[in-house]
């Protein structure tokens, strides 16, 4: 019941959509009823089409994203703790951050062809930035006193990295992961729309070009659902891992 109340405005909008579509207030071709879209979503999931394409998209995204995490988190942390590392890599990230890396699709297509590789590479490059920047930020903010206490207790640099810097930076690292996920999703679908033979992005643009409107909406809905579920999943993991983060208690 409470869930319904929270999402009341959304339900209202969906109801309005349904009513407007049935009353044919707008071009019925472009504006099918929500119920039909939902129905098609179920049908396409049942026959496996959506699952196949979703799998393609998610697979590419996961590969690129995992790479971004494997490379980005250690790099960001290292940049946060070592002036030299920061000084060396900072220009790349400072320059690359505002650049719309989607513009680089041609390079990746030329290098990797139309298959999975180009998408994975693009996801990697795009997701890398928020992950590195946030990890960097988190490592930088580790209170000097925490590190000094560990040093005074005789910990080596590596030990300090593992046992102090890493846990202390986790909140920021998670923010980076969350932002990276958002970016990864955008990029994988966008690149699939530009050039791909499979995947939800491809399904959507194909449907649009062939005027199969309901299919198109279905693809959008599927993409949205995936994004929503992944985000919630990440938040749940974050809550578990970061249970020790204190929330300020109002005096």
């Amino acid at each position: 019941m409470r869930v319904l109340r929270r999402y009341a405005s959304v339900l209202l909008l969906v109801a309005l959509w349904e009513a407007a579509a049935r009353a044919q207030l707008f071009n019925p071709v472009l504006f099918p009823p929500a119920s039909r879209i939902a129905g098609r979503l179920v049908a396409l999931t049942a026959d496996g089409t959506l699952l196949y394409h979703a799998g393609q998209s998610l697979g590419r995204m996961a590969a690129g994203f995992a790479l971004a995490l494997l490379v980005g988190i250690p790099l960001g942390l290292a940049m946060g703790r070592s002036r030299a590392v920061e000084a060396f890599f900072a220009p790349i990230f400072a320059f690359g951050f505002p650049v719309p890396k989607i513009g680089l699709i041609p390079i990746f297509l030329l290098f990797f062809g139309l298959g999975h590789g180009s998408k994975v590479a693009l996801v990697f490059v795009d997701a890398l930035f928020p992950v590195v920047l946030q990890s960097f930020h988190g490592a930088q903010l580790v209170e000097a006193q925490l590190v000094w206490s560990a040093r005074a207790m005789g910990d080596s640099d590596l030990r300090i990295l593992r046992r102090v810097v890493w846990p202390a930076s986790l909140p920021h690292v998670f923010t980076g992961i969350r932002l990276g996920l958002v970016v990864a999703l955008i990029v994988v679908f966008l690149s699939e729309m530009v050039a791909a033979g499979s995947g939800l992005g491809h399904v959507m643009i194909l449907a649009a070009r062939n005027f199969k409107i309901v299919e198109m909406y279905t693809a959008i809905l599927a993409i949205g659902l995936i994004g929503f579920v992944l985000d919630k999943l990440l938040l749940a993991i974050r809550a578990r891992v970061l249970a020790w983060t204190e929330e300020a208690v109002p005096a």
């Binding site: 929270r6 999402y7 009341a8 405005s9 959304v10 909008l13 472009l30 000084a87 060396f88 890599f89 900072a90 220009p91 790349i92 320059f95 951050f97 505002p98 650049v99 719309p100 890396k101 989607i102 513009g103 680089l104 699709i105 041609p106 390079i107 297509l109 030329l110 290098f111 958002v182 999703l185 955008i186 990029v187 679908f189 966008l190 729309m193 530009v194 992005g201 959507m204 643009i205 449907a207 649009a208 409107i213 198109m216 909406y217 693809a219 959008i220 993409i223 949205g224 994004g227 929503f228 992944l230 985000d231």
Partner: protein, 252 residues
């Protein structure tokens, strides 16, 4: 001389990338068909500038981006402030934002093309939708983080709601709002290029896709370089502006 060297030294990593871009194709390690050397791409930029292709597309792209961003800023800041100020407004919009936030705005591109056509309106609408989310969120958090003592002080001096919103809340939240607008700026460029690549007849994004499809790869790289520089310059300009506006702020 020493200063020049110092600047070069600081940007060593970027220079390395450029060196690789120039060296790899020239040494034949990478096919120059796929990766023309940096100098060639640069020369092509000059060529395109002279022939007028580039300025035309850049103008188209940037005007749409600016319009979409401006819309996003005005609506986004207003909405964010209202949401933080009024519980009713917040309750209405918050679930909508939470649900639409994880939707990659890229997914809306074909939809908007169908609704609004492939012209400027569709792009502007897309950019508007894309930029509004980070701006609303940052405005919302910015207002929420305003020190309540500021509000109480202003109330004690007799300020009414509108006066407080304009003279206290907005300036106090401006650091976060301006940071959110920066994100909006970056998103707007991504949505712009993406949507132009998928549909349309002009704009930098279209030009990149077109030159790729027609095999004019050296022009493709030239236009990619242009976008990169534009994105970087735009951001730097904004940061400079932001720093000026926030000169009063103490470092955290």
């Amino acid at each position: 001389m020493a200063r020049a060297l110092a600047v070069l030294g600081r940007n060593a990593s970027l220079l390395l990338v450029l060196a690789a871009w120039e060296g790899l194709p020239r040494l034949g390690l990478v096919s120059p068909e796929i990766l023309p050397p940096f100098s060639v791409a640069l020369a092509n930029v000059g060529l395109l500038l002279r022939e007028g292709e580039l300025p035309r597309h850049v103008l188209f792209s940037l005007s749409r981006q600016a319009a979409g961003l401006a819309l996003g800023v005005v609506v986004g800041v207003t909405l964010g402030v209202l949401m933080a100020w009024s519980r009713g407004v917040c309750a209405f919009f918050e679930p909508i934002l939470t649900l639409t936030n994880p939707i990659p705005k890229a997914a809306l591109i074909p939809l908007f093309m169908l609704w609004f056509g492939i012209g400027a309106v569709a792009k502007i609408m897309l950019i508007f939708i894309g930029t509004i989310i980070p701006i609303v969120i940052s405005a919302y958090h910015g207002v929420g983080d305003v020190n309540p003592n500021y509000l109480w002080s202003a109330r004690a001096m007799g300020d009414g709601t509108w006066r407080i919103l304009w003279r206290v809340v907005l300036p106090a939240a401006s650091p976060q709002i301006l940071a959110g607008i920066r994100l909006g700026l970056i998103v707007s460029l991504i949505v712009l290029v993406g949507s132009e690549m998928l549909a349309g007849r002009e704009g930098l994004g279209w030009f990149i896709a077109f030159t790729m499809e027609t095999g004019q790869y050296d022009l493709t790289y030239a236009s990619m370089l242009t976008i990169a520089v534009i994105g970087f310059a735009y951001d730097r300009l904004y940061l400079w502006l932001m720093r000026g506006l926030l000169a009063w702020k103490e470092s955290p």
